[in-house]
Amino acid sequence: PVEGPKTGDANCVDEILKEMTQSWPPPLTAIHTPCKTEPSKFPFPSKDTQHASFP
């Protein structure tokens, strides 16, 4: 039911390629971050990404 380029004429290939090669973004990733643990009531160091960047 979709209107598309009429196949058969010389320009149809260009039209098809134009339609079918439109840039497509990479997929969104899922929401990973579980929420950060509650406020720093806990004295243990949290293993979050901030620490990972330290050498």
């Binding site: 039911p1 979709v2 209107e3 598309g4 380029p5 196949t7 149809c12 290939v13 098809i16 390629l17 079918m20 090669t21 439109q22 497509w24 973004p25 997929p27 969104l28 899922a30 929401i31 971050t33 929420c35 950060k36 406020p39 720093s40």
Partner: protein, 132 residues
Amino acid sequence: NKKMPVHSTDLSSTTVMPDYICKYMAVVSMDQRQTYKDNFNAEYEEYRVLHARVEKITRHFTQLDAQCRRLPPGTKEYQAVHEEVVKEYNKMRLHSPNYQVEKQRCEYLHNKLAHIKRLIADFDQRSSQSWS
């Protein structure tokens, strides 16, 4: 010469604000965050399936496009690739008659889920700032 916009896929020209903009405002509580995340997850699978399908078809035609560009016009090979494009296109329309509708749905979901994800990320960032 433009065709009748019966199956318009040009989302950029639409001025109507998407429904999710009003539905999903800034996150202010943990409960709300969880609700948003649940809503995100509820549609994420559908999104991934549609995205992968469109990606596969797009990649295939992009490869054919690259082949066309490499070959000198007028050659047999060039003609063969052109015929391949038409053949693949007809095949695609036969197997995925709703391709354009699915693609549009996927674009909508992409924007909607990105919006929800951004609100959650903003909330997380504000929370981490206020806790430190």
